[in-house]
Amino acid sequence: MAADASDGAYARVPGLVETKHAHGETTLVVDPARLREACTYLRDELGFDFLSDVAAADYLGWGANGVSGSIGTAAGRDLNRPNTQGYQSLPGQKPKRFSVSYHLLGIRSGAPRVRVQVWADDGEPVQSVVSIWPTADWHEREAWDLMGIHFEGHPNLKRILMDEDWEGHPLRKDYPIGGEPVRFSPAE
């Protein structure tokens, strides 16, 4: 049976870069080139047989002026700057633009959970884990579709939620919001 999911056990995860603890959750930052190795180890040796979720996030503009704050814009008041109201610090820097987080769960007593995280810049591929957890298929397709993360070794990497001929990746921070022009009459 699986070994105890503890820091000592995590230390042997292949390609481990950093272990973080926050809010009662453990995050294992892993080298993207050794992701598949790390996930195989977590599944087979530590008993994380269930992949709950794959979540990609875009950190473009993280901590920069005008990105946060409901009133602040690039030109106006920035609520997140030090010595203004609110928190008196900028958020910590992120290593690269995109993060992909794999939320793993062990189907056994105690329901241990761990987050495996890899970082990638635009265009950098991340290893696909479909061969380890088949459920990753659609999750990775969604991350490709909405965030533009390329999964190396995915058997069927194509758009899933957006149209096949859609341009761009809508959940990226540089993707404009505001809708698309709608024609109300043929004359327009």
């Binding site: 709950s52 997140n80 939620l161």
Partner: protein, 420 residues
């Protein structure tokens, strides 16, 4: 009714298609054959539970190829939530899964509270649990009614919607609206529990088990129902775990797993309930799990009613929680706090969390990233319907086209949840 080739018991080994786990490919010897007919099932079809499209390759009545195409209901909830303050974003998750609305709301609110490290008073916790179990019954009723309707049991639909309406009446009593109540607030509840709710809810608790007896009486010994559900849409325990299945699909495949018991949240560790598990992994067992869960939910609602604690219904943290309305007329500080929270929103400390709850459809999760500002940086929902549809190809191996309706129905998907 055509009989599928092997319909006895669960299979050995794995049936997850290779190399693409979610696409059933036409076997090589049939490819290019004139006998293969490709059919679009959906996206507009009464039994697709919304707008699911299945591209099916048929060899006679037998399904030899299948691919699920989703995204027709994608509305960009996650992107929209990034543009709203935390306080306003709570309205969105409910609309994602419009059948079990309160779970998405709960999971997002729990994520905010986890980041804020906000203590929720017991009355709010118990009321959340009560309403969530009512929502579970509501969701299972919609499932049972529509899934049975698709298989021709039309009266089931009327019976289920009879009780469903009573639940919606209770929601209306609590939150003012029948669906999408937006009753959960970061820190507790939006309002105190209204007078009269407990009496009405107690009436429902008394009535509901009789309703479940009715449903059982309608289909449980019906030869047509048994013929169409037993041994159909098989999914083994190992395949279910590999495909990330959760909720009734997982428990119908013999995996004794329920987040309410495995990682208790709210007050589930203080109430007594049973987790139904069935072992055949077919449509019938998924139906049994749904039915048994409704009985257990009624028991939880009953216990929550009897043991509902008194006291405050929302946390006392003026930086996050709106001040009491009556204070606005007399207290300058309350007015300022009210103004700040409504216009600017409260700030949530920097960090990332993943919270999961057991929704009627399985593990409903929410991954939230905050940069310390008043808006979420990233919100990602782990939608159980999205994951459930990944199992369509596996469940449909060795199946006939008529079984497809039963199988897709049994996976209990809501396309709003799937496409977000």
């Amino acid at each position: 009714m055509a009989i599928a080739p092997d319909r006895t018991g669960i299979y050995e080994g794995t049936r997850v298609p290779r190399p693409i786990p979610t696409v059933l490919e036409v076997p090589p010897h049939l490819r290019g054959s004139d006998d293969i007919l490709s059919v679009n099932f959906g996206p507009n079809h009464p039994s697709t539970h919304g707008v699911l499209r299945l591209v099916v390759d048929l060899n006679g009545e037998e399904v030899v190829g299948l691919e699920a195409v989703i995204g027709y209901l994608h509305t960009g909830f996650e992107k929209s939530m990034e543009q709203k303050t935390w306080w306003k974003a709570i309205t969105y998750p409910e609309r994602i899964d419009y059948v079990s609305f309160q779970y998405n709301e709960l999971v997002f609110v729990l994520a905010i509270e986890k980041l804020l490290e906000l203590e929720v008073p017991p009355r709010a916790t118990w009321m959340r649990m009560l309403l969530c179990e009512l929502t579970r019954i509501h969701s299972h009723l919609v499932w049972l009614g529509t899934a049975a309707l698709e298989l021709g049991a039309i009266s089931m639909f009327w019976y289920c919607f009879r009780e469903r309406d009573r639940i919606l009446d209770l929601f209306e009593l609590v939150g003012g609206t029948r669906m999408h109540t937006r009753y959960f607030q970061a820190g507790g509840l939006a309002e105190d529990i209204p007078p009269g709710f407990f009496d009405e809810c107690a009436k429902f608790v008394e009535l509901m088990p009789k309703g479940i007896d009715d449903y059982e009486g309608l289909v449980d010994r019906s030869p047509i129902w048994l013929e169409r559900t037993k041994g159909i849409g098989l999914l083994s325990a190992a395949d279910a775990i590999a495909l990330g299945q959760s909720g009734p699909v997982l428990r119908g495949s013999g995996v004794d797993w329920d987040l309410r018991r495995a990682q208790p949240y709210l007050a589930y560790d203080q109430v007594d309930f049973r987790v139904p598990v069935y072992h055949n992994g077919d449509v019938y067992d998924r139906y049994r799990v749904h039915l048994d869960e409704m009985r257990e939910s009624v028991r939880i609602v009953d216990q929550a009613l009897r043991r509902m604690p008194d006291g405050p219904w929302i946390a006392d943290d003026r930086k996050v929680v709106l001040p009491p309305r009556e204070e606005l007329h007399t207290s300058m500080e309350s007015l300022i706090h009210h103004f700040k929270i409504v216009t600017e929103g409260y700030r949530v400390p920097e960090g990332e969390v993943y919270v999961a709850v057991e929704s009627p459809r399985g593990e409903s999760g929410c991954y939230v990233v905050s940069d310390g500002g008043p808006k979420p940086w990233r919100v990602k929902f782990r939608a159980p319907s999205f994951v459930a549809l990944e199992a369509t190809a596996t469940c449909m191996s060795n199946a006939l086209v008529a079984d497809m309706i039963a199988v897709v129905g049994s996976l209990d998907t809501v396309m709003g949840d799937c496409d977000r």
